[in-house]
Protein backbone atom coordinates (compact mmCIF):
# COMPACT_ATOMS: atom_id res chain seq x y z
CA UNK A 1 0.00 0.00 0.00
CA UNK A 2 2.82 2.35 0.89
CA UNK A 3 4.60 1.51 -2.34
CA UNK A 4 1.43 2.21 -4.29
CA UNK A 5 1.05 5.63 -2.74
CA UNK A 6 4.70 6.31 -3.48
CA UNK A 7 4.25 5.29 -7.14
CA UNK A 8 1.12 7.42 -7.43
CA UNK A 9 2.87 10.46 -6.00
CA UNK A 10 5.89 10.00 -8.27
CA UNK A 11 3.70 9.52 -11.35
CA UNK A 12 1.77 12.67 -10.49
CA UNK A 13 5.00 14.55 -9.91
CA UNK A 14 6.61 13.46 -13.18
CA UNK A 15 3.38 13.96 -15.11
CA UNK A 16 2.95 17.42 -13.65
CA UNK A 17 6.50 18.40 -14.51
CA UNK A 18 6.06 17.03 -18.04
CA UNK A 19 2.78 18.89 -18.46
CA UNK A 20 4.19 22.20 -17.23
CA UNK A 21 7.20 21.68 -19.47
CA UNK A 22 5.03 20.99 -22.50
CA UNK A 23 3.18 24.28 -22.02
CA UNK A 24 6.32 26.16 -23.05
CA UNK A 25 7.00 24.19 -26.28
CA UNK A 26 6.71 26.37 -29.32
CA UNK A 27 4.64 25.09 -32.26
CA UNK A 28 6.01 22.31 -34.43
CA UNK A 29 7.83 23.31 -37.63
CA UNK A 30 8.50 26.80 -36.34
CA UNK A 31 11.93 26.82 -34.66
CA UNK A 32 13.28 29.84 -32.87
CA UNK A 33 16.75 29.75 -34.41
CA UNK A 34 16.76 29.01 -38.15
CA UNK A 35 20.17 30.11 -39.59
CA UNK A 36 21.67 26.60 -39.33
CA UNK A 37 18.69 24.92 -41.00
CA UNK A 38 18.58 27.57 -43.70
CA UNK A 39 22.27 27.12 -44.42
CA UNK A 40 21.96 23.33 -44.78
CA UNK A 41 18.84 23.54 -46.95
CA UNK A 42 20.34 26.19 -49.19
CA UNK A 43 23.88 24.82 -49.56
CA UNK A 44 23.82 21.05 -49.04
CA UNK A 45 23.05 20.30 -52.68
CA UNK A 46 25.71 22.67 -53.92
CA UNK A 47 28.51 21.82 -51.49
CA UNK A 48 28.10 18.12 -50.77
CA UNK A 49 26.44 17.34 -54.13
CA UNK A 50 23.90 15.09 -52.43
CA UNK A 51 20.14 15.25 -52.87
CA UNK A 52 19.50 13.80 -49.42
CA UNK A 53 20.29 16.65 -47.05
CA UNK A 54 20.07 14.41 -43.99
CA UNK A 55 22.71 12.07 -45.40
CA UNK A 56 24.92 14.99 -46.33
CA UNK A 57 24.77 16.19 -42.72
CA UNK A 58 25.38 12.74 -41.27
CA UNK A 59 28.24 11.75 -43.57
CA UNK A 60 29.77 15.08 -44.58
CA UNK A 61 29.13 17.96 -42.21
CA UNK A 62 29.14 15.73 -39.14
CA UNK A 63 31.20 12.84 -40.47
CA UNK A 64 33.22 12.66 -37.28
CA UNK A 65 30.04 11.81 -35.39
CA UNK A 66 29.38 8.93 -37.77
CA UNK A 67 32.94 7.70 -37.24
CA UNK A 68 32.12 7.57 -33.54
CA UNK A 69 28.98 5.55 -34.27
CA UNK A 70 31.00 3.09 -36.31
CA UNK A 71 33.51 2.82 -33.48
CA UNK A 72 30.67 2.16 -31.04
CA UNK A 73 29.39 -0.67 -33.22
CA UNK A 74 32.90 -2.08 -33.54
CA UNK A 75 33.34 -2.01 -29.76
CA UNK A 76 29.97 -3.70 -29.28
CA UNK A 77 30.96 -6.52 -31.63
CA UNK A 78 34.29 -6.95 -29.89
CA UNK A 79 32.64 -7.09 -26.46
CA UNK A 80 30.09 -9.66 -27.66
CA UNK A 81 32.92 -11.73 -29.11
CA UNK A 82 34.80 -11.49 -25.81
CA UNK A 83 31.70 -12.51 -23.88
CA UNK A 84 30.79 -15.56 -25.97
CA UNK A 85 34.20 -16.88 -26.91
CA UNK A 86 35.22 -20.38 -26.02
CA UNK A 87 37.53 -21.05 -23.09
CA UNK A 88 41.18 -21.21 -24.07
CA UNK A 89 43.04 -24.44 -24.72
CA UNK A 90 44.94 -24.57 -21.47
Amino acid sequence: MKARIFFLISILLVGGLLWTGLQAVHPFGNPNETPMDDYFIANAQGEAAANNVVTSIVFDYRGFDTLGEGAVLFTAVISVAALFRKRGHN
Partner: protein, 164 residues
Protein backbone atom coordinates in the same frame (compact mmCIF):
# COMPACT_ATOMS: atom_id res chain seq x y z
CA UNK B 1 19.05 -25.38 -32.91
CA UNK B 2 16.98 -27.56 -35.18
CA UNK B 3 15.79 -26.30 -38.55
CA UNK B 4 12.18 -25.22 -38.79
CA UNK B 5 9.52 -27.06 -40.78
CA UNK B 6 9.52 -27.42 -44.56
CA UNK B 7 6.90 -24.70 -44.92
CA UNK B 8 8.94 -22.17 -42.95
CA UNK B 9 12.11 -23.05 -44.81
CA UNK B 10 10.46 -22.73 -48.22
CA UNK B 11 8.94 -19.35 -47.37
CA UNK B 12 12.31 -18.22 -46.03
CA UNK B 13 14.10 -19.38 -49.17
CA UNK B 14 11.68 -17.38 -51.25
CA UNK B 15 11.47 -14.14 -49.28
CA UNK B 16 14.89 -13.81 -47.68
CA UNK B 17 16.31 -12.77 -51.05
CA UNK B 18 13.88 -9.89 -51.32
CA UNK B 19 15.14 -8.80 -47.91
CA UNK B 20 18.76 -8.94 -49.07
CA UNK B 21 18.01 -7.02 -52.26
CA UNK B 22 16.07 -4.39 -50.35
CA UNK B 23 18.90 -3.95 -47.84
CA UNK B 24 21.49 -3.57 -50.58
CA UNK B 25 19.20 -1.07 -52.31
CA UNK B 26 18.92 0.98 -49.11
CA UNK B 27 22.72 0.98 -48.72
CA UNK B 28 23.47 1.93 -52.32
CA UNK B 29 20.78 4.64 -52.53
CA UNK B 30 21.77 6.13 -49.16
CA UNK B 31 22.53 9.55 -50.63
CA UNK B 32 19.26 9.72 -52.60
CA UNK B 33 16.53 8.16 -50.49
CA UNK B 34 15.85 7.86 -46.76
CA UNK B 35 18.07 5.26 -45.17
CA UNK B 36 21.77 4.68 -45.50
CA UNK B 37 24.55 2.43 -44.38
CA UNK B 38 23.34 1.71 -40.87
CA UNK B 39 19.73 1.02 -41.80
CA UNK B 40 20.47 -1.05 -44.90
CA UNK B 41 23.15 -2.98 -43.06
CA UNK B 42 20.66 -3.87 -40.36
CA UNK B 43 18.24 -5.11 -43.04
CA UNK B 44 20.92 -7.33 -44.61
CA UNK B 45 21.83 -8.65 -41.16
CA UNK B 46 18.15 -9.55 -40.74
CA UNK B 47 18.56 -11.66 -43.87
CA UNK B 48 21.31 -13.58 -42.09
CA UNK B 49 19.05 -13.97 -39.04
CA UNK B 50 16.29 -15.35 -41.29
CA UNK B 51 18.62 -17.99 -42.71
CA UNK B 52 19.99 -18.90 -39.27
CA UNK B 53 16.58 -19.30 -37.66
CA UNK B 54 14.97 -21.17 -40.55
CA UNK B 55 17.79 -23.53 -41.46
CA UNK B 56 19.48 -24.08 -38.14
CA UNK B 57 23.11 -23.82 -37.19
CA UNK B 58 24.60 -26.75 -39.09
CA UNK B 59 23.49 -25.54 -42.52
CA UNK B 60 24.58 -21.99 -41.71
CA UNK B 61 27.95 -23.29 -40.61
CA UNK B 62 28.47 -24.91 -43.99
CA UNK B 63 27.45 -21.74 -45.84
CA UNK B 64 29.32 -18.91 -44.12
CA UNK B 65 32.37 -18.46 -41.94
CA UNK B 66 32.97 -15.86 -39.28
CA UNK B 67 36.19 -14.80 -40.99
CA UNK B 68 34.22 -13.28 -43.87
CA UNK B 69 32.28 -11.07 -41.47
CA UNK B 70 35.44 -10.12 -39.58
CA UNK B 71 36.96 -9.05 -42.88
CA UNK B 72 33.82 -7.11 -43.83
CA UNK B 73 33.68 -5.26 -40.54
CA UNK B 74 37.33 -4.33 -40.28
CA UNK B 75 37.50 -3.49 -43.99
CA UNK B 76 34.42 -1.31 -43.78
CA UNK B 77 35.69 0.73 -40.86
CA UNK B 78 39.14 1.04 -42.43
CA UNK B 79 37.61 2.23 -45.71
CA UNK B 80 35.52 4.77 -43.81
CA UNK B 81 38.51 6.21 -41.95
CA UNK B 82 40.55 6.20 -45.15
CA UNK B 83 37.85 8.13 -47.00
CA UNK B 84 37.87 10.62 -44.14
CA UNK B 85 41.65 10.92 -44.06
CA UNK B 86 42.07 11.38 -47.81
CA UNK B 87 40.45 14.79 -47.59
CA UNK B 88 42.93 15.78 -44.91
CA UNK B 89 44.56 18.43 -47.12
CA UNK B 90 41.44 20.50 -46.46
CA UNK B 91 39.82 19.15 -43.30
CA UNK B 92 39.11 15.78 -41.77
CA UNK B 93 36.08 14.27 -43.55
CA UNK B 94 36.30 16.80 -46.37
CA UNK B 95 34.21 15.70 -49.34
CA UNK B 96 37.06 15.68 -51.87
CA UNK B 97 35.24 13.57 -54.48
CA UNK B 98 32.18 15.77 -54.84
CA UNK B 99 31.85 17.62 -58.14
CA UNK B 100 35.32 16.39 -59.13
CA UNK B 101 34.14 14.23 -62.02
CA UNK B 102 34.73 10.53 -62.25
CA UNK B 103 33.07 8.09 -59.92
CA UNK B 104 30.47 9.72 -57.65
CA UNK B 105 31.59 13.10 -58.96
CA UNK B 106 28.62 14.41 -60.93
CA UNK B 107 27.22 17.84 -60.15
CA UNK B 108 23.73 17.96 -58.67
CA UNK B 109 21.29 20.57 -59.99
CA UNK B 110 19.98 22.83 -57.25
CA UNK B 111 16.34 22.33 -56.35
CA UNK B 112 14.04 19.32 -56.59
CA UNK B 113 15.36 16.74 -59.05
CA UNK B 114 15.04 12.97 -59.43
CA UNK B 115 18.69 12.44 -58.50
CA UNK B 116 21.45 10.32 -60.01
CA UNK B 117 23.36 7.48 -58.41
CA UNK B 118 26.66 8.91 -59.60
CA UNK B 119 26.69 11.93 -57.28
CA UNK B 120 27.67 13.06 -53.77
CA UNK B 121 31.36 12.17 -53.65
CA UNK B 122 32.61 10.48 -50.50
CA UNK B 123 29.09 10.29 -49.05
CA UNK B 124 28.22 7.34 -51.27
CA UNK B 125 31.58 5.71 -50.55
CA UNK B 126 31.08 6.15 -46.81
CA UNK B 127 27.56 4.77 -47.08
CA UNK B 128 28.94 1.66 -48.75
CA UNK B 129 31.70 1.23 -46.17
CA UNK B 130 29.37 1.77 -43.22
CA UNK B 131 26.92 -0.69 -44.76
CA UNK B 132 29.70 -3.24 -45.09
CA UNK B 133 30.71 -2.66 -41.49
CA UNK B 134 27.17 -2.96 -40.12
CA UNK B 135 26.45 -6.14 -42.09
CA UNK B 136 29.64 -7.73 -40.82
CA UNK B 137 29.22 -6.50 -37.25
CA UNK B 138 25.60 -7.47 -36.73
CA UNK B 139 26.08 -10.85 -38.42
CA UNK B 140 29.07 -11.49 -36.18
CA UNK B 141 27.03 -10.58 -33.09
CA UNK B 142 24.35 -12.97 -34.34
CA UNK B 143 26.73 -15.86 -34.94
CA UNK B 144 28.64 -15.33 -31.69
CA UNK B 145 25.44 -15.21 -29.66
CA UNK B 146 24.18 -18.32 -31.43
CA UNK B 147 27.36 -20.27 -30.74
CA UNK B 148 27.26 -19.04 -27.14
CA UNK B 149 23.69 -20.20 -26.66
CA UNK B 150 24.25 -23.52 -28.45
CA UNK B 151 27.82 -24.57 -27.68
CA UNK B 152 27.29 -28.05 -29.14
CA UNK B 153 26.94 -26.61 -32.65
CA UNK B 154 30.24 -24.88 -33.06
CA UNK B 155 31.15 -22.16 -35.52
CA UNK B 156 34.47 -21.35 -37.04
CA UNK B 157 37.82 -23.01 -36.99
CA UNK B 158 39.03 -22.64 -33.44
CA UNK B 159 36.17 -24.59 -31.91
CA UNK B 160 36.32 -27.47 -34.41
CA UNK B 161 35.41 -30.14 -31.87
CA UNK B 162 37.66 -32.39 -29.92
CA UNK B 163 34.87 -34.89 -29.49
CA UNK B 164 34.10 -36.07 -32.99
Amino acid sequence: MNPLSVVARTVCNLFAWFLAVFGIYVIIHGHLTPGGGFQGGAVVATFMAFLLVAHGGKKMQSWVKKDIFTLMECGGLTLFITAGLLGMSNTFFFNFLAKAGGLFGSVVPIGPNPGALNTSGTIALMNLSVGLEVVGGLSMILLYMFSGAHPEESFGREEAGHDR
